[in-house]
Symmetry: C2
Subunit: 232 residues, 2 copies
Amino acid sequence: MGMNTRQGNASKGQRSGGGTLYEEVIPWIRDRIIEGELAPGSRIPERVICEKLQISRTPLREAFKVLAAERLLTLTPNRGAVVTRLSFKDVDDAMNLMACLEAFAGKLLCQSITQNEIDNLHELHQRMVVLYNEGNHLEYFKVNQKIHLALLEAADNEVLLQTYLGISTRFKRFRYAGNRAKPRWDRAVNEHEQILISIENRDSDLLQCLLKSHLQNGWAVAREMIREELEG
Amino acid sequence: MGMNTRQGNASKGQRSGGGTLYEEVIPWIRDRIIEGELAPGSRIPERVICEKLQISRTPLREAFKVLAAERLLTLTPNRGAVVTRLSFKDVDDAMNLMACLEAFAGKLLCQSITQNEIDNLHELHQRMVVLYNEGNHLEYFKVNQKIHLALLEAADNEVLLQTYLGISTRFKRFRYAGNRAKPRWDRAVNEHEQILISIENRDSDLLQCLLKSHLQNGWAVAREMIREELEG
DNA sequence: ACTCCATTTATTGTATACAATAACTGAAAA
DNA sequence: TTTTCAGTTATTGTATACAATAAATGGAGT
């Protein structure tokens, strides 16, 4: 990683943007946790990251605090940072809560969504269908994410959005696993189409119902796979 | 605040527990923000807190990162910490979301609540009724909080509980204002009684409905007072 | 008065030094 | 062999020094 030092002994190159080191470190570590490269339960000595990124302990420790607040790390005084280990129940609880939050967003957005946002949703949906036909896992998942995010944004409730994003990133790894099951795809695409229709009709009750079952269906597919990973 | 230094020049007294300085600083600042002693929008220079608490900048800056993650502070690179300013819409959005979360908790707890937890709820309710008759604002509010917390805990969903707590502390000040309106009290006590009954009957639908309207009724009373404070 | 710009001052960001605690090692005792 | 415990090493917690950026100051020119 080409993370320059600000005043360090080696390579006095200027730092890129107006940002700070701890801000750059956060996504670096976060991504490695989400990817599973930093395994759940494993310790992360400060020295290891410091040497790898060529930074001092100060900004790293600040980044640790943020990641601990996101519950991706667990900090214990005098004993350092550990990648938070998630139980199966944690994931199950999170999925249920996210279904609840999406349904609530569905209720709200029926009041607040604009035609622009609906058009944007349609465009995203078309892109997703194309990726579905191409069988492109990763991009399909990304666009799928964007659609759900767009729904949350359309609900026009900033606190809800931030809450959703927090849980979403924390359990990202498992949500991706949910969408890997191929036979689920055609059903998911179909569900999305129904969702779009109910949005256009501003049918709040139906939309809430569809969103809830959409998430629960996806989770049902991944459920046992994840359970095996976390408990078996 | 009797916060001793670990190795500082003055007063070499041992530190109390096995904790760390940044952990002690967090609730100190958090409380001052919630109490309104640190006004929304005001800057908090590191030096001021450092001198007041007799600590160095390192643990303070780590505490700032945690409080920023809780969105009580807003950090801007090279420009320091500002107490996050909340709009009326933020508070309104948060109250709606909390109603949603409590209702969800109500749905879940019908499946998971134990007799012990029900007994505990009754006990808390009795204490609250006593405080209601005594007209004791502060304690009434505290026990009221405890009841709602007990409901969330009974739902047996750790992610939900953590999410609720996060929003709860962030908007604590305004939730307190909601319960200050005296004429609201008798109605609130009555609502709580109905809630307890529906819990005993495991009537999920009724319980969700009651919890939602309970929160919304409380918010309706405080609403205009808060709007005036934040917009007027 | 006002604006502009250089200079100073204050504040934040990072690195490093040192202190405190925990983890490790290995020999002595059971 | 296992346990215990002193001594050592490694790691974390805090303070401080210095660098970089932003804010404040104070003339010179208009």
